[in-house]
Symmetry: C2
Subunit: 256 residues, 2 copies
DNA sequence: TGTAGGTATGAATCCGACT
DNA sequence: AAGTCGGATTCATACCTAC
């Protein structure tokens, strides 16, 4: 295990199952785990992430990522395990937001409840331009986040939207499944204090947290993506991007 | 049972379980059943204490499934029944789109698969404003439709969006849960021919179908709502609103 | 700085060829 | 062999380049 302390960020190169038990309390868990999704056939799901999620001509743009080959029952059990661990690290009334796609959405809502969280709703990320349109079908142009709380809600802070419109291509992308930093910044309005992301990937949640004046704890088991995050967060801290004024105001409102 | 024939619409005043077995083949089922959603998952009543006293390995397995969840199981069985009946009335490759809210979304995806449909995705109706914004929460400003097909897709017709943005107050409402007619018109791009709505309510699906040149079969068991639909569809047929040019073009493309 | 037009791309999916 | 793999397909949107 390797640990990097960069400004208000603490980054672990390790599996979250190993690190989570050792952490102190956090205020929110905002994360984007591997979905283990894709395809009606088993072969479509267990293939390389590049061939599962990218067009033929674009395969190989990003490094592969692991942990994306569980079948539905195993995905359910695995999510329940890490969600239960995460719950034990959250303060009373703390928030969970966990991304998923249409195929795994029902499994994810089951898992967060089996993990002990109170399910509060579904948020929508409208990507505005879709994955591979097909004739005679509705486009699956959204991803979703299932969100909940540790026990009763505190009900402080701003009212947040339930649909977020951001192009998946609009910002620098370092991961096949990377989220726009501005999407994550908006979502962070749900919490103040310390944000935990057990599946950090290329670190967009962390970058958003640091830029909006929050503390961040991130865990990633892939060394290549870990290095990308370290570099991105170092750059943000070094350039004094600690406070986007707009976001900082939001943080203060949230904490007030 | 009462039956009204108005132009290309056939409207039944009856329970859909009674009427469905007697119908001929249709091309699509587009509907908005009662969600049975209120007060179903009161996890927050137990949340504060349950996470406090449970050890990591035994924490909160199925907290929401014990006790007051009979409603949800019954909803699941009921949906499976009518969805199975509906499947038997659809041509090969026919389409189902069934509205639901965030609470019943997972149950609905299970039910359409238990009913024998192939689940193809989730669509989003972004109502753009929330019923009740609450501090420190994401707004539940969306409803969803779960859609699928009877066996393999035909893959003809236009590519449709997966997110529809329409204000819930943008048009005249005849039903508490009424959908905008323009939303339904857009969604009907998924099919041509005969559209069936077993939970017709105030008839927005039927109105959209008639206005876009499709045939419609609707079923509603509440006499008050049935009369509203009869009046709305009579007015549309009488005023010769049979073809919105834009929609009619879309229909022809779909059928081509 | 603004507009117009061309190009790249997507947390897929399906089918056929192959081992 | 209750398989496996790779290529073709689809178009709205965002971004880039030229004027």
């Amino acid at each position: 295990m390797r640990v990097e302390h960069i400004g208000d960020a603490t980054l672990y190169l390790a599996d979250c199952m190993d690190v989570l038990p050792k952490l102190g309390k956090v205020d929110a868990v905002i994360t984007d785990p591997p979905y283990s999704s894709g395809g009606m056939m088993r072969g479509d799901r267990i293939g390389a992430t590049s061939s599962k999620y990218q067009s033929t001509e674009h395969r190989g743009l990003y490094p592969e990522f692991g942990g994306d080959t569980r079948d539905q029952r195993a995905y359910m059990v695995w999510c329940t395990l890490w969600l239960g661990l995460a719950l034990s690290k959250v303060t009373a009334g703390g928030i969970l937001a966990c991304f998923t796609d249409w195929r795994q959405l029902p499994t994810t809502t089951d898992a967060i409840q089996c993990g002990g969280w109170v399910w509060r709703g579904i948020g929508v990320w409208d990507k505005t331009e879709a994955a591979r349109p097909q004739k005679g079908r509705f486009r699956n142009q959204s991803e979703y986040f299932v969100w909940g709380s540790s026990g009763p809600m505190i009900d402080e802070g701003p009212c947040l939207p339930g649909v977020f419109r951001y192009s998946a291509q609009s910002e620098e992308k370092h991961h096949i499944t990377g989220k726009p930093v501005s999407l994550m910044s908006d979502m962070l309005g749900i919490c103040g204090g310390i944000v935990l992301d057990p599946f950090m990937g290329s670190g967009s949640t962390g970058l958003a947290a640091i830029k909006t004046g929050r503390k961040f704890i991130g865990i990633e088991r892939d060394p290549a993506y870990f290095e990308i995050t370290v570099a991105r967060i170092r750059a943000a801290v070094g350039q004094g991007q600690l406070f986007e004024p707009e976001r900082a105001k939001q943080v203060q409102e949230t904490l007030a």
